[in-house]
């Protein structure tokens, strides 16, 4: 019996720890602030963190691909996509053209960074840091100030609530659904396709993956393109929920999303972890933010400090788990 439990714990330990911590933090929040017990607060986690969830899904895949893979450009892409779409909509372009255009933009940016990383052998963080500054700079070139969106389609999407059946007074917005849908897509991609197997293989050992004849270069570019797609979707969701576009949107989101991925049990060395954990990482982030909001007296910068500390703790937990796994 013990022999069975041990590998199970070693395999799913970090994920279980994440879920346990989420439940614990949420429970504590509910005890401290009784108004947090309302079901709507739980759905607000999804509403408020919808773009963080999207971005973190892409980030998970990038980090899983190993080789120091990381995507620091996510916040910049969100800023660029929101500003560009707001400017295009102000220019009178139809949203049915703008949204696909923005998705193409995100995929192209991500794919471009992936190409630079794979073929020019630039370290991922440098290439994506350039992507971050390029995207933010372009956003500022488009507009130095915030651009409001007055498009009717965007407005209806931002303001129509979808009521949750069976739960009174609980609702979400249409854009909230994008994150969970992408999560399902990512689960399918990582667990049920060749792409996913290649991803885990190269994350564990790129050299062996190459020697096995797996399409490592293509997969790497695709992973960054996927992250670009997620960031672009995140940017669209962001601009819909705020009905504006601005170069300063989503500053520091790269850390939040890396934190969510790490808290979700994905190892920064690549090859270990999954996107389901990332969902709970995002939820923990959202819960901390809402506890701070319910408290009311603590300043917003405590969020950043808190998330940083939590990331550190989880990196500690991970090294404990994975060090043991290697020994056994």
């Amino acid at each position: 019996m013990v022999q069975r439990i041990k590998p199970f714990l070693l395999r799913y330990g970090p994920l279980l720890a994440t879920i346990a911590i989420f439940v614990l933090v949420y429970y504590l929040g509910g005890r401290l602030y009784p108004s947090m017990q309302k079901p709507q607060v739980f759905f607000n986690l999804f509403i408020n963190d919808s773009s963080l969830l999207l971005v973190s899904i892409g980030m998970t895949l990038v980090i899983l691909s190993g080789g120091g893979g990381i995507d620091l450009s996510v916040g910049g892409v969100i800023a660029l996509v929101s500003t560009a779409s707001a400017a295009l909509l102000r220019g009178g372009m139809s949203p049915y053209i703008v949204i696909p255009l923005m998705i193409v933009l995100g995929v192209a940016l991500g794919g471009g960074m992936g190409w630079i990383i794979q073929y020019l052998k630039v370290q991922p963080f440098i290439a994506t840091l350039m992507g971050l500054f390029l995207a933010r700079g372009l956003a500022y070139i488009i507009s130095l100030t915030s651009v409001t969106i007055k498009d009717p389609l965007y407005k209806t999407m931002a303001l129509t609530p979808i009521y949750i059946p069976f739960i009174p007074k609980a609702y979400i917005y249409p854009t909230t659904l994008v994150g969970p849908i992408m999560l399902l897509v990512a689960i399918y991609l990582t667990f049920f396709t060749r792409f996913g197997r290649t991803l885990y293989a190269m994350g564990n050992n790129e050299q062996s993956a190459l020697l096995m004849g797996l399409p490592v270069p293509l997969t790497k570019i695709l992973v960054y393109a996927f992250s670009g797609l997620c960031s672009a979707l995140g940017g669209i969701v962001f601009s819909i929920s705020l009905l504006a576009g601005y170069g300063q949107f989503a500053t520091g989101m790269e850390l939040d999303s890396i934190a969510a991925v790490v808290i979700g049990g994905t190892a920064l060395t690549g090859g270990i972890g999954n996107v389901i954990g990332t969902l709970f990482g995002v939820l923990i982030h959202g819960t901390i933010v809402s506890i701070l909001q319910f408290n009311g007296t603590l300043s917003s910068w405590w969020t950043r400090i808190g998330v940083g500390v939590l990331t550190l703790v989880f990196i500690g937990i991970q090294s404990l788990f994975y060090a043991r796994k290697k020994h056994s």
Binding site: G68, L72, F133, L134, Y140, L255, L268, S299, W301, L312
Partner: protein, 365 residues
């Protein structure tokens, strides 16, 4: 031994060559586009006396914080690491200085009179020491995370990059603090013998760093850690302490940079002090020819890289490009530089040279 190498080859293989060429190119561009760019003059300042002024002096004076950060960053990158938190360290150091000066500190009745008084709460030397201590502490924290906890340097320093700005705001209680204490302005605005004080500060730090890495074995240790940390460890060098030292030194440099910056702009702003300095510093180091994989390094080349960046910035500003658009231009510049230095283009260049040499052989035979 050194004299046996021909001068031309020594020049060609020098790390200073490429950044110097880049600098000269930008200066030549300036000379053509703006004839008044190099104008130097002597001006009588009511506070600091006679001193030089002109674009070139500005480049060195405004670029001093970046040069300092680049010196620290060089050592960190030489060990194969990276420090993304330098901008946040600058903000923390600036916030520290502003809070300690604040004459209203510990005063129950805060009025505008007290706040804007040309006075300080803490003696200036203690402020400087506190600044430097805060920055070094930040560096030590990064170093501990990287060396002892073995967290990848990007993530370890990314934590402070974002949390650090929160800490800076925590220190100033979320406000932009204006400084009214005039002796503090000396670091960023003062002059010694007609040249800005900041240049002397850079020179002193550079000299200290040079003695540290070239007159002791530490420089060699740093390079060997950057080339292969494991074999360095097995050859009996405590690689963890070497890393710790470089991060602490980088924090120290960031703190001095923060001191100069806040003194120059007369205020401390947790969100904007030292914004994007991490990118500029990395760019300066890469321009100086230090590989991001670690290994051989040259601090002087990084300083010249920083000068190149500021010359570029001043040039772009004087052409009337908005400040925020500069971000995109710089990103393109970094990418171009990194691509130029990458193995891919290196091998392309060597192949070109080999082909030419091959054809020469063909003709002589």
């Amino acid at each position: 031994m050194k004299n046996n190498i021909p001068l031309l080859k020594r020049i060609r293989e020098s790390r200073l060559l490429w950044p110097l060429i880049a600098w000269v190119l930008i200066l030549v561009f300036d000379a053509i586009v703006e004839p008044g760019f190099f104008k130097l003059g002597i001006i009588e300042d009511p506070v600091y006396g006679k001193h030089l002024y002109g674009n070139l002096v500005d480049i060195f004076n405004n670029g001093a914080p970046l040069m300092l950060v680049a010196i620290g960053m060089t050592l960190v990158i030489a060990t194969g690491g990276i420090d993304l938190s330098v901008g946040a360290v600058i903000a923390i150091s600036a916030a520290m200085g502003a809070v300690l000066i604040n004459p209203a500190l510990g005063n129950k009745l805060i009025t505008n009179d007290i706040l804007t008084k040309n006075a300080t709460n803490t003696p200036l030397p203690i402020i400087v020491l506190a600044d430097i201590a805060a920055g070094t502490l930040c560096g030590l924290w990064n170093g501990l995370l990287v060396s002892k906890a073995r967290i990848p340097p990007i993530v370890a320093t990314l934590i402070l990059m974002v949390a650090g700005r929160g800490i800076a705001q925590l220190i100033t209680n979320g406000q932009i603090m204006t400084i009214y204490y005039t002796p503090y302005f000396w670091f960023g605005n003062g002059y010694i013998l007609g040249l800005p004080v900041s240049i002397y500060i850079v020179a002193v730090v550079m000299l200290l760093g040079w003695i540290l890495v070239r007159k002791t074995a530490i420089g060699l240790f740093i390079e060997s850690v950057g080339i292969n940390a494991k074999s360095t460890y097995f050859s009996g060098i405590n690689e963890q302490n070497v890393k710790l030292l470089t991060y602490a030194f980088c924090g120290l440099c960031g703190a001095i940079a923060g001191l100069i910056l806040s003194s120059y702009v007369h205020s401390a702003d947790g969100n904007n002090n030292g914004l994007n300095y991490e990118l500029d510093a990395i760019l300066a180091v890469v321009m100086g020819g230090t590989s991001l994989m670690g290994g051989r390094f040259s601090m002087l080349a990084s300083v010249i890289g920083a000068v190149v960046i500021w010359t570029f910035t001043v040039t772009v500003y004087s052409m009337g490009v908005p400040a925020n658009a500069l971000l995109a231009a710089k990103a393109v510049l970094v990418m171009a530089v990194i691509l130029l230095y990458s193995d891919y283009s290196r091998s392309l260049i060597t192949r070109l040279f080999e082909r030419r040499r091959g054809s020469q052989h063909g003709t002589t035979n």
